[in-house]
């Protein structure tokens, strides 16, 4: 396997580092403290083409590749986990399913605004009673008498980008008798009658990202907005989440790497017993382990991204990347707080935020337990 980045990818990384350092890092603490969605950052990202990295120029994308997208989420997450997930949810969970499953008309109608960052996208699958068991969808979609519109009723929860998004990919039961095969996917606009945004969650980490309920009360969705065919929703959701896992794995990777960077810097400055912390073997061994874990995570994440780019099966790779990167990020950020000691526990230093941000990567877009289910099923272990 070729682990070398192309010259374009190297250049992207350089641009992303400058952007993250100058534009994203200075806001990271503030958006966390104030639980504020960093809209100004999204606008700047849009100008650079970051809201549509790997999509066709025909639809307003930047014409890049999936590894570049993963690197973007990684570099942003190094300094701000919130910004990383905003990009990941928008790209992987809203733009991608429309791009991969939409009709030409749907793509021409919705992608240009999403990929240029004029509008933010979100994805609604999870419900209060349908989390890991996504097949337990209670939101319904019924074709009205005219046969022109679906009427949606129900609610969704924990929707990333929910309060700021204008375009949603929503899942609902069109035929409850059929179970998974009765689920369909829809493109829903914020302005559709009967659609509203519910309560905003107060979270442990990624506090600048918006997470909320979506409510559908006789919400009218034109038939033309059915994504894929009726009954294909579950398949679309699972395929979308396979791709999404690359994004979240990249977010976890970035958070962990960011914590290693901070710990290396801090332990070279902090003096105890007349020695820099970095001169103690415990510190050296901790940092060696932390870096090794994140490097291994990077290989898994990049391999999954390259397989998706090459249209090879990547579902198990994405699951392994997310599982490993998320657990590595949680471990590494916790160790970083320990190396910082008392200061690490204060909100003056970024590592406690990174530790809180890392935890969610083990939970959303498929918990670590779900990733293990996916991996073992690919191994044929029953």
């Amino acid at each position: 396997m070729d682990f070398h980045l192309t010259r374009e990818q190297e250049m992207i990384r350089k641009m992303l580092r400058e952007f993250a350092e100058n534009e994203v890092k200075p806001l990271a603490q503030e958006v966390d403290e104030e639980e504020r969605f960093p809209m100004e950052t999204v606008e700047k990202m849009a100008k650079l083409g970051l809201m549509g990295i790997y999509f066709d120029k025909k639809y307003g994308g930047a014409g890049g590749d999936i590894l570049t997208y993963a690197m973007a989420v990684e570099e942003l997450s190094k300094v701000c986990g919130t910004t990383g997930v905003i990009l990941s949810a928008h790209t992987s969970l809203c733009c991608a399913p429309i791009y991969e499953n939409g009709t030409e008309e749907q793509k021409m109608k919705y992608l240009p605004d999403l990929l240029s960052g004029k509008k933010i996208g979100a994805f609604g699958l999870t419900e209060p009673n349908a989390g890991t068991d996504a097949s337990g969808q209670q939101t319904t979609a019924v074709l009205d008498e005219s046969g022109e519109n679906y009427v949606l009723n129900g609610s969704k929860c924990f929707i990333t980008n929910g309060t700021v998004a204008e375009t949603f990919v929503i899942f609902a039961m069109t035929d409850p008798k059929l179970g998974n095969k009765g689920i369909s996917a829809f493109i829903v606009e914020k302005s559709f009658p009967g659609f509203s945004v519910g309560k905003h969650e107060k979270k442990m980490g990624i506090r600048g990202s918006s997470t909320c309920d979506l409510i559908f009360e006789d919400c009218i969705v034109p038939k033309a907005n059915l994504l894929g065919k009726e009954g294909e929703g579950f398949k679309i959701a699972m395929k979308t989440l396979d791709g999404g896992r690359i994004g979240i794995a990249a977010q976890a990777l970035g958070i962990g790497e960011g914590a290693v960077d901070e710990a290396i810097k801090y332990t070279q400055e902090r003096v105890q017993f007349k020695k820099r912390l970095s001169q103690f073997q415990n510190t050296q061994f901790q940092l060696a382990d932390m870096h090794t874990r994140m490097q291994a995570a990077q290989y898994l994440v990049y391999a999954a991204a390259m397989k998706k780019q090459n249209h090879e099966p990547y579902s198990m790779d994405a699951a392994m990347a997310k599982l490993f990167a998320a657990e590595a990020a949680s471990d590494v950020t916790r160790r970083a707080v320990q190396l910082f000691g008392g200061y690490g526990y204060t909100r003056e230093y970024p590592v406690e935020r990174m530790m809180r941000d890392a935890k969610i990567t083990e939970i959303y877009e498929g918990t670590s337990e779900v990733q293990r289910m996916v991996i073992s099923s690919h191994l044929g272990v029953k």
Binding site: R7, M11, I12, L48, G49, L50, I53, A62, G63, G64
Partner: protein, 266 residues
């Protein structure tokens, strides 16, 4: 209409500065960046491009690896790039460099509405001589220290930032301006720009390409054509952070006088 921007790849002096025993910079051991003032010149060109549809051409004289910098500038939005590179040009001082760059600009071709932009000065030599010398050699009107540029047809209104104030000058094209950091905030490379930059036109001008220009002869280029001799180069000591005091009242004045007296300055 065309805007030609002269740019230089320089050592990143924000990192470690390495000096050879003979006093010259050890460029090989230092990371390189695009000279900061030159980025302001490129940004000014890209802004004018957005307003007028002008073509932006970036030109640099340097060794072959300077291609990377030129590609990055195309990723920011420049349309094409020219690298002036050849053994014969090595060791050039500002006099010889401006001679060569002027010949390169002649080769690219300057038309009636065209503009040449340079950064004010490079952070490695800090001379601020190359831009003005190019203008002299091409017989172009020049405006240095541009902090604001407004284009109206063939007339540019340029606000120059001087030490003690501003001076507004009108100049007609073709002309050369040198740009300062107050002019604008350089943009980042864009994702699509990066994926396009290796397919944009890129040319290398060597000695053979430029030798017929009257400005180019062995006595005016390269080390032999450079009247400058370097006696010593050094890293200037870092200035400490300044201290700002605000207020027009007596207490502030007394505080200031006290501070100056404590340092035995008054």
């Amino acid at each position: 209409m065309k805007i030609i921007v002269c740019v230089k790849q320089v050592p990143d002096t924000s990192g470690k500065v390495a000096v050879n025993p003979d006093g010259t910079l050890n460029r090989a051991s230092m990371a390189t960046i695009t000279n900061p003032d030159d980025l302001n010149a490129v940004e000014a060109a890209l802004t004018l491009k957005e307003q007028t549809g002008a073509e932006v051409v970036v030109v640099s004289m340097g060794p072959p690896p300077a291609e990377g910098m030129l590609r990055e500038l195309m990723a920011r939005g420049a349309d094409r790039a020219v690298l002036v590179s050849g053994r014969e040009f090595g060791g050039s001082d500002t006099y010889a460099t401006s001679q060569i760059l002027a010949a390169a600009i002649n080769k690219i071709g300057l038309e009636d509405e065209d503009i040449v932009l340079c950064g004010r000065q490079a952070i490695d030599g800090d001379t601020a001589q190359v831009g003005p010398q190019i203008a002299e050699k091409l017989g172009l009107p020049q405006v240095s220290y541009a902090a604001e540029i407004v284009k109206d047809g063939k007339t540019l209104t340029v606000k120059r930032m001087l030490e003690d104030g501003y001076m507004t000058v009108k100049v007609s094209t073709p002309c050369l301006l040198t740009c300062i950091k107050e002019l604008n905030e350089p943009r980042y490379m864009s994702v699509s720009g990066i994926f396009e930059c290796y397919s944009k036109p890129y040319e290398v001008y060597d000695y053979e390409t430029l030798k017929d220009d009257p400005l180019i002869d062995a006595t005016t280029i390269g080390l032999k054509g450079s009247p400058t001799n370097i006696f010593k180069s050094f890293t200037p000591p870092q200035k400490g952070a300044g201290m700002m005091m605000e207020g027009a009242d007596k207490a502030t004045c007394e505080q200031l006088a006290g501070l100056l007296a404590a340092k035995h300055l008054i």
